[in-house]
Amino acid sequence: MNAPANLRYTPDHEWVLLEGDVAKVGITDHAQEELTDVVFVELPEDGRQCDAEDPVAVVESVKAASDIYAPLAGEVVAGNADLEADPSLINTDPYGAGWIFQIRLNDPSAVEGLMDAEAYSALLG
């Protein structure tokens, strides 16, 4: 299982990379493997205010649509427009080019409350 040590993780299989007060969010390698073949991504609108665990984006495979949640409260500042042309970036590069959105956190220190790579790997068992 690939779960980079520099990221934080949610129980919904999202990863978070904090850069200043902005968090970049995507889904984990495990999540993309479970979904397989991402064919469509619905991005959140810029400026959207959200609470932690609000559904903000949708990632769709051939078979199913899966909600993607805001990991923490904040304001959406960007969606990854590259995914509109190539949704499969989520499969091929989930921790890099396959990021989904960026959110300016109300409380950046809250990231410390998310799982680290070790805890997330333990969750997957």
Binding site: D37, V39, E42, E60, V62, A65
Partner: protein, 366 residues
């Protein structure tokens, strides 16, 4: 005998093999089945371009035997059984008294008075009960669904795969069936499928099913799950009972009039409703809808609206076509909206995606 009325989830003789092959198992129509092994996209492409293999052991097999089998069966099914020579098969439907669809099935005449019926997994018990209820004395109907393992080998290279295992046997012609003895068991092959590709359905005893499935893999067939089976059939507009067909809609509404012989001798259950519908004209029809632009994949139960915002119905099936990368769907629409070229909106989580009524099927071999 199988019993889909209970909550028990059933397993086909190939279940252990699916897990061993990495299949992702999901419940389907009361059965634990692989939805995919590696990826629906890859499995779909394998069938369109080469050859794939699906477990269809969950489907039901009934055998009808006895003097007069044809005459009686003709009253139970829409297509004309009399057209079948020995070794031939046909797609047909079983209707209720109101002309609604109980099930769609394929029947094969194996001998003059021995007919095989292959029915949908979810309908085995209901179909068997319905037929038994009407069965006259002198005819025998047996449910052999648990006796057989079944696999569909589909794709342009399916005949080559068959030749690889059976170099001395010829595949039957389209819709045909042949049965023979091999290594002490009876094998059955039917030149039919549910993908729009050339291919065949192969039945062996439940005990040897796993070995045969592996042999087909060895000659090039890629294991494919229900996900690809659904996307493949939808691209060619083959209906799925329970989704696109229902007890409250007739085959004429579903666009399956070709398989309904209204004039055959003796008639059939539901015939008069169909005849009346034909005379009075249809109120709604199952149409093929294709997105005019990009959008989230259409899925069953998404609502369909007119361009003026009136709710018309909901999708019965939908998928982002793996072959064409376009949203494609089926829905019953009022006939005034069923004309080719008509534009409608599909509601996807509050967003409207425009779609156009197009000709069936969505996908044709290039």
């Amino acid at each position: 005998m199988s019993d889909s009325m209970t909550e028990m989830i059933q397993e086909t003789p190939l279940a252990a093999l699916h897990v061993e092959l990495g299949g992702k198992m999901v419940p389907f129509a009361g059965w634990n089945m692989p939805v995919q092994y590696t990826s629906i996209m890859d499995e779909h492409a394998a069938v369109r371009e080469k050859v794939g293999i699906f477990d269809i052991s969950h489907m039901g097999q009934f055998f009808l035997t006895g003097e007069g089998a044809e005459t009686w069966l003709n009253t139970m099914l829409t297509n004309d059984v009399a057209k079948l020579d020995i070794g031939e098969g046909q797609y047909t439907l079983m209707l209720n008294e109101s002309g609604g669809v109980i099930d769609d099935l394929i029947i094969y005449r194996q001998q003059e008075a021995r007919i095989l019926l292959v029915v949908n997994a979810s309908m085995i018990d209901a179909d068997y009960a319905w037929l038994k209820q009407h069965l006259p004395e002198g005819l025998t109907l047996t449910n052999e669904s648990d006796v057989w393992a079944g696999m569909a080998v589909q794709g342009p290279s399916a005949p080559a795969a068959f030749a690889g295992l059976f170099p001395d046997r010829e595949l039957p012609a389209r819709n045909g069936i042949s049965m023979w003895s091999c290594e002490g068991e009876t094998l059955c092959v039917c030149r039919t499928g549910y993908t729009g590709e050339d291919g065949f359905e192969f039945f062996s005893s439940a005990e040897t099913g796993e070995a045969w499935f592996k042999r087909f893999i060895d000659v090039g067939a890629k294991p494919c799950g229900l996900g690809a089976r659904d996307s493949l059939r939808l691209e060619v507009c083959y209906p799925l009972n329970g989704s696109d067909l229902s007890p409250t809609r007739t085959p004429l509404q579903a666009g399956l009039g070709f398989f309904c012989s209204l004039d055959k001798a003796g008639g059939f259950i539901g015939r008069d409703v169909l005849a009346q519908q034909k005379e009075e004209g249809l109120v709604e029809r199952l149409v093929a809808l294709k997105y005019t632009g990009r959008g989230a994949p259409p899925r069953a139960h998404y609502e369909v609206f007119s361009k003026e915002g009136e709710r018309l119905s909901e999708l019965t099936s939908g998928v982002l076509s793996p072959s064409m990368r376009e949203g494609v769907a089926l829905a019953y629409l009022p006939v005034s909206y069923a004309k080719l070229g008509t534009l409608v909106d599909i509601d996807v989580r509050g967003r409207r995606c425009e779609a156009k009524v197009v000709k069936k099927p969505f996908y044709k071999k290039p």
